[in-house]
Point group: C2
Chain length 215, copies 2
Amino acid sequence: MPDQPLITPLPTAPDAGTELPVLGGPARERCDAARNRRRILSAAEALVARDGAVAVSMDQIAAAAGVGKGTLFRRFGDRAGLLRALLSDREGAFQEALIRGPAPLGPGAPPEERLLAFGPAYLHELQDYAELLSEVEASTVPGELMTGGPYALYRTHLTLLLRAANPRLDAEYHADALLTPLSAQLVLHQRDARGMDLERLAAGWQAQARGLLAI
Amino acid sequence: MPDQPLITPLPTAPDAGTELPVLGGPARERCDAARNRRRILSAAEALVARDGAVAVSMDQIAAAAGVGKGTLFRRFGDRAGLLRALLSDREGAFQEALIRGPAPLGPGAPPEERLLAFGPAYLHELQDYAELLSEVEASTVPGELMTGGPYALYRTHLTLLLRAANPRLDAEYHADALLTPLSAQLVLHQRDARGMDLERLAAGWQAQARGLLAI
DNA sequence: TTGTGAAGTGGACCGCAGTCCGCTTGTGTC
DNA sequence: GACACAAGCGGACTGCGGTCCACTTCACAA
């Protein structure tokens, strides 16, 4: 299982990873590089767990990992990339469940049911790592957030489901419109500052989706 | 007409402004301070018009205005506050139209119609200053964006309309859910990177709202 | 074992937003 | 007009994310 499943690697950081001993691919990773990557990730994980993602700086991570700062940026592109790498396992599992998992989230159920299952499932996953993902959202350059990374997959997924469930809709638009209320920053604010619990958010999201199916 | 209508001033920057010659209020603004504020705003406006909001730094604005950097931050709190001040006239006009303007955006029309008028009107306004507002969104600390500033008014407005139009809804949730797809960052991405024109965005938003009225 | 080129490294460096505090200046009082 | 004091000022300073490039280390071939 790759370290960063389904996340397109940065052009500057191929990160082919996964120490396959055979089949020297187009660009194998040198073993000292792999060792440093592990060091960086485990140092970052420990610091984030202790102090929270907001309070951890790239210098701190570099120092804790015993590498230079340049190595962090060569490996992960920018701060958002490093934080995203910390999430990749969990995000990968969710993406896997979307594509190959059991119904109604995975294939097998009718598109209406799969659509209605998405929001609550995503919100449930989000509870664990909302703070980290919120930090990723904040430190990603605006346009890039929607373009690459996991959002592109979710957008495609929702577009296909919407198109199948109600062909009269502008599926592309509504995929965005259903995805933005799931933003980690918003959900965190709703949960912590306004006291809206998970069930309420999930029910609201489903109502939003059901409305689209009704027209 | 105040400089920053309906925008609650920062605690560190009272900005009572508006050179009222009479009625010495609780905290009159000294006239050199007012002169500097005008200098800063016009310098900022010129630089933003020339180079774009992203490319303009606080140091540049301070230098162009002929004041120290500390003055900028004393006056406007942070970068987002300064950029928001550049928008305040236009935002104020739109808020005015919401509250006291002609129907269907203003009062007089039934809530369903006022709701459906909001999205397209806001998107239309946004076209002019989307880049600036996107920069404000990006440089505002996450929680604060929804709490203060114009968003609070829009959220309240939508909440009231939704509650009146369909009492079965969780009006507070759906106010957020209808507001997030109007984020300047998203709209800019949809318009420029994905080639979705204004009519399409407006129609999509209305469909989203109409769905809520239907259930 | 040794040579070689590319992949990898790390810390000095840059421009940035935001803070701090000693100094200046305007204003109301006597 | 002189004074006192608070309001205002500004630039040096901090820590940050991110870049750069001279240097080191690895992997492979002869």
